[in-house]
Point group: C2
Chain length 208, copies 2
DNA sequence: TGTACATCAGTGAACGCGCGTTCACTGATGTAC
DNA sequence: TGTACATCAGTGAACGCGCGTTCACTGATGTAC
């Protein structure tokens, strides 16, 4: 769109984003099902009632956060499973991409890891839906590679699902490393690399 | 011990267990960080203050639940990675054991999946500690098999960690299937079976 | 451009409610002799 | 076995507090003419 938003709309979006940002910070130390609407508005500096101009409830805000968090993850996917280089180079690149994503968006990663199995059903649903979509995209990407020749469709989806889950496991391992500091980061990268290598080995020898 | 507990001790343990049981039921629909002490005592039918005779806080109760939940999982581990039969038989048996465990202790499985990355630090820590212990036990079990010959120690631990995480992923998939009903259960079993088969293939062709 | 009216994001007071925690207590159970 | 005292799991009243939600409001922004 070329015409800029009206002043009113722009201000509203700004407040909405401030609410999302404040919630994300508060969610580093608690889970969504205990997040209070007043906490969030207090952190932003608006009246509690202003919350209702943007979200019906904290669960509703949570669903919006899912879209934000997994939206930021989306561009990373294509790159992670892209085809250049040999297996080891691709694995190293994927682990590196995950590590940098965690550095750039730690709160988003934590939110997804926490609420994927969390206590708020609509948010769990939203995450499940997005991750299913991711797996299908990874599958499509895999199907484009020559290695995928002869693979059954459902085996490809199985592999894609394994990659997506492994990506999340690795991301949350890097997140812990970020908190603990020390050599945890290298240990996480090393573990993730070898696990991906084992999966790749299985993939190469998969009986088609 | 041969002598039975005194009446007082027995009654105290009974109340404590009732608190744990009630909490576990309440935690099916919310997460620990939003669980109220009064909710729990109300469900049991004791005064709120009675709670303090057993736990300092709901976080403390959470740690006790971790021990209960992962204790029930413990006997299953040896059986899951035991050596009898060929690869496919072993995989089928493992998937079956996981499915039955989820049927038998759904609330325990949900609790662990939810609080592993939940908002209560001491509980996350307790789960992490137990899962590390599990991975080391699986590693020891794997090391006893002939297939492990020539494997480096850290590669064995890497594989064990992958198995433990995969077990949890599968368990939580079965849990969702339990909620949704329909053919989800078979689909979950099928996916888990093929993912374990891929891991096994990688294991067989692992470059030692 | 100027005027008159409509819209609506954010306000602030008020509400009833359930929370965690304290305290002194009760009465059944345990123990010493 | 009986008695006198100690222990301690569970009670119930009371507290101050922050919660989510309602409501009528204000005043800047938007729109029609």
């Amino acid at each position: 769109m070329s015409h800029s938003l009206g002043i009113r709309q722009a201000q509203k979006q700004k407040t909405r984003q401030a609410l999302l940002d404040a919630a994300l910070v508060l969610l580093e130390e608690q889970s969504l099902s205990s997040l209070g609407l007043r906490e969030v508005t207090r952190a932003v500096g608006v009246a509690p009632t202003a919350f209702y101009r943007h979200f019906r409830s904290t669960a509703d805000l949570g669903v919006a956060l899912v879209e934000e968090a997994l939206g930021s993850l989306h561009p990373m996917i294509g790159a992670t499973v892209s085809a250049d280089g040999d297996t080891d180079e691709r694995i190293a690149r994927a682990v590196d991409l995950i590590a940098h994503h965690v550095d750039a968006y730690p709160a988003h990663v934590r939110f997804i890891a926490r609420e994927r199995h969390g206590g708020v059903a609509p948010v769990r649903e939203a995450i499940r839906r997005e991750l299913t979509r991711f797996a299908e995209e990874v599958k499509a990407e895999l199907a484009g590679h020559p290695e995928a020749e002869g693979w059954r469709d459902d085996d490809l989806l199985m592999l894609a699902t394994l990659y997506v889950d492994q990506m999340l496991m690795t991301a949350s391992l890097f997140l812990e490393a970020l908190e603990y500091g020390g050599r945890e980061r290298e240990r996480a990268a090393d573990l993730a690399t070898r696990q991906l290598r084992l999966i790749s080995t299985g993939r190469e020898h998969w009986p088609k």
